[in-house]
């Protein structure tokens, strides 16, 4: 794996393919209310679009797309988004993760539940994406796979 010259066809192909996978991941997260999908699947698709660049072109170019030291803070941020939504609902007078009590003005209870589910799915997607990228970055040791 050490003395392999990078192929321009693979570099260009993955660079064309990666944004479309990322857009499909966002679609799966935001359209999870109407079709199969949700935070886990969409976050995994986002992670796949990052890992494709990481496999094809090595850590030097991949760090331009997503810095590897940002993975752990973003994963913690995803957990904080989920837990904070429940905590805000509890502080405003309901139960833990009771979305009816979220302080968003001008919405009825059912629509508040809709937006609460969307917020926690975003938190799940962020955590899953960064954790899978983190596992890959720490498994690759030493040499670059480009």
């Amino acid at each position: 794996m050490t003395n392999r010259s990078p192929s321009p066809i693979i570099l260009l192909g993955t660079r064309f393919l990666s944004p479309y996978i990322m857009v499909f991941g966002f679609y799966v997260i935001f359209h999870g209310h109407y079709s199969p999908g949700g935070g886990f699947q969409g976050g995994t698709l986002l992670a796949v679009s990052l890992l494709l660049i990481r496999i094809a072109s090595g850590t030097q170019i991949a760090n331009l797309q997503f810095k590897d030291y940002l993975a752990t803070p973003y994963a913690a941020l995803g957990v904080v988004i989920y837990f904070g939504t429940g905590l805000v609902a509890m502080i405003m007078g309901g139960y833990f993760l009771d979305y009816e009590q979220l302080p968003i003005p001008g919405l009825e209870a059912a629509d508040l539940r809709y937006w609460g589910i969307l917020i926690i799915e975003l938190g799940i997607g962020l955590t899953v994406m960064t954790v899978l990228t983190l596992i890959y970055d720490n498994m690759v040791k030493g040499e670059d796979y480009a």
Binding site: M1, P36, G37, G38, F40, Q41, T44, L45, A47, V48, L51, I55, L132, I135, Y136, M139, V140, K141, Y145
Partner: protein, 81 residues
């Protein structure tokens, strides 16, 4: 769904599992495991569990293959038994 389609999928599932179990080359075994995951996702979809099938297709056939191949590159290609 048609039971004939499910039978064909089950037969291919058995074939990929046996090849992954008996192959000497670990890279072949990793690719066969991703194929196994994809056929499993199709079977979940025919059983009506679309969410589970989607998760299986994305995680089993996408990320697990990448992580297995990275683990093979860290160690060795050949198995001894």
């Amino acid at each position: 769904m048609f039971w004939q389609l499910e039978l064909i999928l089950f037969i291919f599932l058995l074939i990929t599992a046996l090849i992954a179990l008996e192959s000497k080359d670990l890279l072949v075994a990793a690719v066969m495991l991703t194929l196994f995951s994809f056929l499993m996702a199709l079977l979940f979809t025919t059983m009506g569990a679309v969410d589970v099938g989607f998760t299986e297709a994305v995680v089993g056939a996408g990320v697990t293959g990448i992580l297995l191949i990275v683990a093979i590159y860290q160690t060795t290609y050949k198995t001894e038994d």
